[in-house]
């Protein structure tokens, strides 16, 4: 099945940047400035490991997902698969697959489950005869726990619940036997009581089939629970990475701290403190703030933060952040 060995670097992004430009000029033919959706992102996904990418809407996390899946090319930077640069080919699709947020939109409403799963099998040449197709479709449904398989095979998407649809989407991604799976908010459209099951399924697939899994989410608590590592993204840039426990128990970047303090926490008793009820919102990516993009909202911003872009600073073993607080030269100044 999958050719990777646990611990192998499967999918790597090197200094990837994506700017979106409006296709036509603005009013009176003026050129519009680009949207700087993703700026200098480097990351790597490892076989058998779950990496979570956390950030607010508009921070560029879905753009990174689409760049990794080569849905569109980066403005600059490289995507490497098993250390080799790749192009947008069918072979790449066979190795890197995506699961999208909305299972109501990602399945064709006119086709049955069998069709959705048979198509990738045939297109990528994994099954040739009808009998082979049927056998493999059944096996896929089995793997995502949609049983009895004979029943689910002949259902249309509208006959399935959100969780079941998402399982079909996962099965479809698995049909081509990928080495990397990118799941973009796979459970945020699902009801709370069925999220857990879908996340467990993804976890099990990553572990048992040695998939390199990127789990993109806005929910840092679920990232802590399911992922081995967490990447935090803000305004198009990666600002912190570390093991899940490190990042959530001992966050380095002030934005990560803000994100954690804002996450719903049933065990926290809300006090009537005078803490501000306005922490601002993420900046525009057309003209992002100078220096550190978080400095206008940062409670501990220093003068240097508005002028100099922070570089990657090591906080601990395998835990880094882009923040001047951890950059000794800036703190001394």
């Amino acid at each position: 099945m999958s050719q990777s060995v646990p611990g192998d670097e499967v999918l790597t992004a090197e200094h990837v940047t994506k700017h979106f430009t409006a296709s036509r000029g603005g009013r009176f033919g003026r050129r519009r400035p680009p949207v700087r959706a993703v700026e200098d992102v480097s990351l790597s996904l490892t076989a058998g490991r779950i990496t979570a990418m956390v950030g607010e809407s508009g921070c560029g996390k879905s753009t990174v997902a689409r760049l990794l899946a080569q849905i569109y090319p980066p403005t600059s930077g490289r995507i490497l698969l098993h250390g080799r640069p790749v192009g947008r080919s069918r072979d790449y699709r066979r190795q890197v697959q995506m699961v999208f947020q909305d299972p109501f939109a990602s399945l064709n409403p006119f086709h049955k489950v069998h069709y959705h799963l048979a198509r990738p099998l045939k297109l990528h040449g994994h099954a040739r005869t009808a009998a082979e197709v049927d056998e493999q479709v059944a096996e896929l449904l089995e793997r995502v726990s949609l049983t009895p398989v004979d029943q689910f095979m002949h259902k249309l998407p509208h006959e399935l619940s959100g969780g079941q649809r998402q399982r079909v989407a996962i099965a479809r991604a698995l049909a081509v036997r990928p080495v990397a799976l990118i799941a973009d908010e796979p459970v945020s459209m699902l009801d709370v009581s069925i999220r857990l099951g879908v996340l467990r399924l993804l976890e099990q697939l990553a572990r048992e089939e040695n998939l390199a899994l990127l789990y993109i989410t806005h929910d840092i608590a679920s990232a802590r629970y399911f992922a081995d590592d967490i990447l935090v993204m803000y305004a198009g840039q990666l600002i912190e990475q570390g093991s899940s426990e490190k990042v959530t128990d001992d966050p380095a970047h002030p934005y990560t701290r803000l994100l954690l303090s804002a996450a719903p926490d049933p065990d926290r008793v809300e006090e009537h403190s005078d803490e501000t009820t306005d922490h601002g919102e993420p900046p525009s990516l057309i003209s992002p703030p100078s220096g550190c993009r978080f400095h206008p909202r940062c409670p501990v911003a220093m003068p240097t933060c508005s002028t100099t872009v922070p570089t990657r600073a090591q906080v601990a073993d395998a835990h880094w952040t882009n923040c001047h607080l951890y950059d000794q030269a800036s703190v001394d100044a």
């Binding site: 009801d191 709370v192 069925i194 926490d265 049933p266 926290r268 009537h272 919102e281």
Partner: protein, 359 residues
């Protein structure tokens, strides 16, 4: 019973539990070509003056239908088939909202009860400025105000929800998602209502903005003393902000209680499952139980308790008897057979009784 503390309104509500709105035996059906769908089934629930009542449930549980029934916003094919909704004005006898004349309803809406919807982009008029929309609301419901007073009030309201005065002339598309939702809250506050229904007001927002708005709502509530019905699918959000929590499943009310009590000892298996479905931010990684299966189809509900096919504590009787809402702890009610030992045929499971948890 110890002497209640005074001067605080959070946690277990210590304010005298005086109702401002009571729903009694409320049922709402959606009429279809075949048989009607019972979207809300015999719900009895009270909203106390000045409290935040959290209404939690999954999609299709009937929480929004219930809120729309209370605000008289239901449209066909939805139909209230039974029950009453009593509004208790500050000084005066109760009035049945469901039997109000169109004229009385006009006076009731916005002066007594206002609504904040999930998507502020859809509830604000895109071609009218925020200030003009507050002005419209004031003019429609309070004819005594002069134009200058209305303008002053619009600025004041926006300031109260954290929007600067120069935004009065902004159109909704010029505001961020969080600011739009703040503007929608400002409009809801315009006539100082007794009750504000908030239907998933922060679901479309990011966590940081969400928490800011929740804190803003709490602060405004302390200042103005209105009661809030806060509808959400996210129980974890309610545990830290609501005074009391009501949980709905398949159109029925399955548990009601003080937020702390529900958090400490959920007495309905569904609530118990929900609380064990989302990972915690702190502490060791515990095994999450989750809830097996999927929510039922309202057109084809299982017999007996609608939750029994997914329930860890179900016994055979659960498929036959429909449990009634019973008081299981002071002020905490649950509709579960497990709290009725005679029908359950076994002692109450410790997970649901809080036995040994020190209460």
């Amino acid at each position: 019973m110890t002497e209640p503390e005074t001067g605080t309104t959070t946690g277990t509500s210590t304010v005298a539990a005086e109702p401002v709105l009571s729903m009694r035996g409320l049922s709402v059906d959606y009429l279809t070509d075949t048989s009607p769908v019972h979207a809300v089934d015999d719900v009895t629930l009270e909203l106390h003056r000045g409290e935040i009542l959290g209404l939690a449930g999954e999609s299709g549980s009937g929480k929004s239908t219930l809120a729309n029934a209370v605000a008289r916003l239901l449209k066909p094919p939805a139909l209230v088939t039974a029950g009453e909704v009593l509004y208790h004005p500050a000084g005066g006898g109760p009035v049945d909202v469901l039997r109000m004349s169109p004229k009385a309803l006009r006076k009731f809406r916005w002066r007594e009860l206002s609504v904040v919807f999930q998507s502020a982009m859809n509830s604000l008029n895109p071609v009218s400025t925020v200030g003009a929309q507050i002005d419209d609301t004031l003019r429609a419901h309070d004819t005594t105000l002069t134009a200058a007073q209305r303008r002053e009030r619009a600025v004041e309201l926006l300031r109260r929800v954290g929007i600067s005065a120069d935004r009065v002339r902004s159109y909704p598309h010029e505001l961020s998602g969080g600011m739009r939702q703040r503007a929608a809250i400002a409009i809801a506050l315009a006539l100082n209502p007794e009750i504000i229904i908030m239907d998933e007001p922060t679901t479309a927002l990011d966590v940081v903005v969400q928490r800011d708005i929740l804190r803003e709502i709490s602060a405004l509530r302390r200042e103005y003393g209105f009661a809030v019905v806060f509808i959400t699918h996210d129980l974890s959000l309610l545990l830290s902000m609501a005074d009391r929590i009501a949980v709905m499943y398949a159109g029925q009310l399955v548990e009601v209680g003080a937020a702390r009590d529900v958090h400490d000892v959920p007495s309905h298996p569904y609530t118990h499952g929900l609380l064990h479905s989302f990972p915690k931010l702190r502490g060791p990684r515990e095994e999450l139980l989750g809830i097996p299966g999927t929510p039922p189809d309202l057109r084809d509900l299982p017999p007996g308790c609608p939750f029994h096919p997914r329930c860890r504590f179900a016994v055979d009787a659960c498929a036959e008897l429909t449990p009634a809402l019973l008081e299981v702890h002071s002020g905490q009610y649950a509709a579960c057979l497990a709290h009725d030992p005679a029908s359950y045929g076994a002692p109450v499971p410790t997970e649901l009784s809080g036995e040994g948890s020190g209460r």
